[in-house]
Symmetry: C2
Subunit: 149 residues, 2 copies
């Protein structure tokens, strides 16, 4: 009965350290771009899930269509987003990252990865092997939980 406690504890500690650092990083980066968190989150979401319509933005962030429209409009005017008419439904709009927006998101991600690489470099081959295997187990488990939901 000691093992279950141990893995529980290890996961919690790791999450605490990891999340703390990671969230600080993101919010500082967002601040440095001059974008608000809601605006930044929309860019991130478009990056991860690809182009979509306005209604999807409003659903995913649980805000009214009006709010989504206004947020997106600012991002379009700042040239981070392209808003075109959906050819298959002329009511709908297609939102996608502009070249500018894609670059901004990539820069943020690169900065986050820099920190990870610094960590990765601290281990020898044997340690790396162990870590890779463990992370694959964890990632797999997390993803399968996600899908079940």
């Amino acid at each position: 009965m000691t093992k279950p406690i141990q893995i529980t504890q290890s996961l919690r500690t790791w999450m605490d350290v990891f999340m703390h650092r990671s969230m600080r990083g993101w919010s500082q980066f967002a601040k440095s771009t001059g974008l608000s968190m809601p605006q930044f989150s929309i860019l991130m979401q478009l990056h991860h899930k690809g182009p979509c319509g306005l209604s999807e933005i409003s659903e995913r962030f649980d805000i009214s269509g009006a709010a989504a429209s206004q947020l997106v409009d600012k991002l379009v005017q700042s040239n981070y987003l392209e808003r075109t008419e959906d050819p298959s439904d002329r009511r709908a709009k297609l939102l996608r990252l502009s070249e500018n927006g894609a670059k901004l998101v990539d820069d943020g991600i690169q900065q986050r990865y820099l920190w990870l690489d610094e960590i990765a470099n601290k281990f020898d081959a044997a340690q790396q092997k162990k870590i890779v295997e463990a992370l694959e187990l964890l990632t797999h488990a997390a993803q399968s939980l996600e899908e079940k939901k």
Copy 2:
């Protein structure tokens, strides 16, 4: 030369999956409490670093003293924070979580841990051992990087 790439990739994938889920969880929880993110962050920070004065809040969040004072004031009025006079310096105030505030933060943390425990339960003893060892390596490395900075 394949190993360094592999650990880099494993870490990145894990971070993507993990951060996504974790940040969604936190922001939904904050929303459910009726607190804004800045207010919620102050509670979290007080939880992690213990009681402090107003000026530390203003430094850590990089906002003006006035902004900090106003945010804290709302939290005091909502009964999440206690604001007492620092006996060793009568200009300064001592901010600490009230019973109410501590409970709220704990609830949030518990919810986050629930998810972790679900993941932890998916592994057999051998896998758990491997994961615990890997996470300890990672946590250690991350913490030592933190301190160097």
